[in-house]
Symmetry: C2
Subunit: 218 residues, 2 copies
DNA sequence: TAGATTGTTAATCGATTAACAATC
DNA sequence: TAGATTGTTAATCGATTAACAATC
């Protein structure tokens, strides 16, 4: 049933987490089954699009019935890699790094944070929750010792490129980049996922300035 | 020259801030002129795409020469609304709200933060930098008194919907939503720009799990 | 069985790419 | 002038939407 080999488009990949989120919400509300039509309505998509998206990975539904919320959520979670036991480390325990460690539910997304790194000696050796803070000098040794899937880059932008390269050299698979710089890595296999606050705010700025602009254009 | 009336696609809107960022970078490096080809190479796009994008707003280049970096940056900045004197207020001065006020360069994106709001009495009345923190109860009065273009939603998710509706009722044009919930507003004109950390991390999770997945698919 | 809704192919739409005349 | 590169239209590609047979 699974269609392997076919490349999944970026557009689809970006919708998968939204499906997962919506299904989690539905499950919380006690909804057991849902049709592509109903899900589409909830999410502002078309039923066709949803069926087409799911078709990339095989059939998870049942004709005449729709989709079992719990099962579909499981399947999409698995596709996203939620059960893969991913690990992440935090680079830079400033305001943002601290906020992520303290407030962001890595666990809900299949990640466990195994360490944090900073240059500030007053932070090194302390913990945030269960997360130990090490000195950045220990990063390379740490990466040699433990498997780290993702490095979370929350250092000031001037250090971003250097830290990113160290992460890549240390064998991480992905970098979650909050440093607001375009990373040009010397490591083709490492995936960089940017969270560019500026880009997001500027897009919003554009949209609120366009009188004709309306929601459906999203 | 300007083509008015034509709707600019979301894909183009999302690239505009990237152009702006790249041009800022080029200016910093002292680059005076750039061709669509060179810019495309820098950004991983095609020259055609860049010219097509800019064509949406009129011609900013010169045949045989290319684009003047400073001028193009100005033009795109203006399109994005950087000179519009936008104002923003922060809802929720927890870790993330605090981090944004303290570290995020709102000014670089044409915004000034005019106030912050929280429920915590130990925060109310204090300042972060130049930003005064008010009690959330004062929000409606504040919105009646001052023009606020964007509300930055960094409250815990349970309060997000309520706060968002207050912002909308108070006349903001946009909501920059970090609350990790889908907002369903009763206000069709208000633009919601979501920064969903989870969606971003899950997309990264998917991509690091796909051996065939490579950068150019971005 | 009749009704509902999927899985899947085909048609359409929109975005990207190619091409080239215009012109600096 | 010759060379370079844009502005702009046309061609292509990919994503979304429509349609419907399969089937629960």
């Amino acid at each position: 049933m699974k269609k392997t080999g076919e490349k999944v488009s970026n557009a689809v990949i970006r919708r998968l987490p939204r499906y997962y989120r919506q299904l989690t919400e539905l499950r919380l509300r006690g909804v057991v089954r849902i049709s592509s039509g109903a899900l589409a309505k909830d999410m502002g998509l078309t039923a066709s699009q949803i069926r087409q998206d799911l078709f990339c990975f095989g059939g998870f539904g049942q004709q005449g019935y729709g989709y079992n919320v719990e099962k579909l959520r499981e399947e999409i979670g698995a596709i996203l890699g939620i059960n893969r036991g991913n690990t992440a480390i935090i680079l830079g325990v400033g305001n943002l790094g601290h906020a992520l460690i303290q407030n962001f539910k890595f666990g809900n997304n299949g990640f466990s944070v195994t360490a944090a790194f900073d240059v500030d000696d007053s932070l090194v050796g302390t913990k945030i929750g269960a997360v130990q803070i090490y000195h950045v000098d220990e990063l390379e040794e740490y990466l040699r010792t433990y498997r780290v899937d993702v490095g979370v880059l929350t250092v000031p932008r001037v250090f971003a490129a250097e830290m990113a390269q160290k992460l890549a050299d240390g064998g991480v698979k992905g970098i979650w980049n909050f440093a607001n710089v375009e990373l040009k890595l010397n490591a083709p296999d490492v995936i960089v996922e940017n969270v560019h606050f500026s880009d997001s705010l500027l897009a919003l700025s554009y949209m609120i300035g366009e009188p004709v602009y309306d929601e459906e254009n999203k």
